[in-house]
Symmetry: C2
Amino acid sequence: MISRNPRLAVVGCSGAVGREMLAILEQRRFPCKQVRMLASQRSAGTEIAFQGKPHAVELLSPKSLADIDLAFFSAGRNVSEEFAPIAARQGATVIDNSSAFRMDERVPLVVPEINGDVLDQWENSGIIANPNCTTIIILMALTPIQRAVGIERMVVSTYQAASGAGAAVMEELQQQARDYVADRPLTTDVIGRPYIFNIFSHDSPVDDAGHNEEETKLLRETHKIWDDDELRISATCVRVPVLRAHSAAINLMLNNPMSVAEARKLLGDAPGVTLVDDRDKNQFPEPIHATGRDDVLVGRLREDPSQPRGKGLSLFESGDQLRKGAALNAIQIAESLMK
Amino acid sequence: MISRNPRLAVVGCSGAVGREMLAILEQRRFPCKQVRMLASQRSAGTEIAFQGKPHAVELLSPKSLADIDLAFFSAGRNVSEEFAPIAARQGATVIDNSSAFRMDERVPLVVPEINGDVLDQWENSGIIANPNCTTIIILMALTPIQRAVGIERMVVSTYQAASGAGAAVMEELQQQARDYVADRPLTTDVIGRPYIFNIFSHDSPVDDAGHNEEETKLLRETHKIWDDDELRISATCVRVPVLRAHSAAINLMLNNPMSVAEARKLLGDAPGVTLVDDRDKNQFPEPIHATGRDDVLVGRLREDPSQPRGKGLSLFESGDQLRKGAALNAIQIAESLMK
């Protein structure tokens, strides 16, 4: 559905996801006739190296999105709301990393390993949405289990990295480390609080029922991706001082029993998932090991004795927020459209 | 049951808990006729200031525990197993911070605000056990709810600090920050892995069912403290790069309904608990705010829509691991024995 050698635009090319996107496009030798680097006023006029050549960063405008076959958007919700429809109207297929269109009925919400088939019957509206990073990472390991035995309810607690809040927060977390070591007051200009040696409830708005936006996204997006509005989810989303990989502790209530051995076999064979589950050596998924990897790590598989025999399963995941949680998944969507 | 002006021994006085113990004894003007500072070969011969005077640190031996009315032990399980019974036989009341005697039927396992009454009918075996830090902190907020409506099942994910692994790990975490900032390889002599900007499954042995020791302690100790072996618990214990306050995300299945407003009122009035629950300002418990405080912080109170109406409740806690999680609770046990 996309030309095999598209004219490409990367909107938000200087952000954390944008830069990761360019690195992955290079690594995967993503075919493209040309690349247009687009950003806000702040970065326009600078240069970015890509595939060995310097590329000028241009100011994002309606005109800058003309003659584009494929546009990756990762410049935030407001930019996507304004410019993604313009790009689509001018003929581009937009893969949008923001939350702007995820719940739009006309827009597919895609993790290729999970529901890539929705693209087959897609009547091209021009925009495809990349799910939230937490949703992608969690569902990578849960989908094989869901398909095999069904999941009735899940209780999720997250351990989320700075990268989800953007490059400036990643930089500020490292600045706080320098401040701490130098015995200076911590720099809190962006995140507004101590982050080094601290954790805090996810920095998204909290609704009247007490859920933050990240928790609500996980619920709604999972329902859409799995096409199952009955699934019950209780989530607590928390930021930890980690640079770029999200983790989650997950407790499942299964519809039908599954043993730990069966789950281990299933996840060991699942695409995009690597099992890290060595009880003797106490080696389980860690964000530092997930960083820079395409696969999501899963481990700590164990039966939950607080539920009926075989119906409770606990596990732990870590996945690179910038790769599978964002940039890689968007590129995989594009690749599956080019097949 | 203890003299109002006891002869005191602090075993493990140079460890993280021991030092916190001395600081709290000073702050609370804990009455004592004399204090004997006891430690291993490594610290014996040094001096520790207490109540304005230098005290020689003596080598722990059976003789060093003679003529003692009250002994606080926090030098690890092996030291307690060997020396706590010796202290008790020589007439001391031992308050033991290790796991050595917690599950011993003759030994009370006490959090004064929760089950201090067990000390009233206690036939003095000489030893009282201080529960695990995670257990204490979690139960501080859950006990009022348990008493009011009953708890059938809980799913707990922890965010545990370095202090629980000892002073050397706290120091190594800070050393790793210095290493990171100086762009040197991380020092991993004690904890054996990157800890700065990382999280990992709790560093205690994992049993054949896949549970680590910290998770098993939480289950067994809660059963003993609440005197309720039916309560179902599913726990995942994780270390985060925080210095000295543990946090936990907790999802409850209640026996009888309780509204968020009722829970907020109940916890706002509970002893040893401070409510931090501002949805508009996104202010909830954080380890950095719990550090150095006696109270356990609780917030993020919300109904869990994945359970029957009113029967599901979620919350989040942070508490100082060295204070209420260890030293303070031990001292409060002693104070309640002196009343």
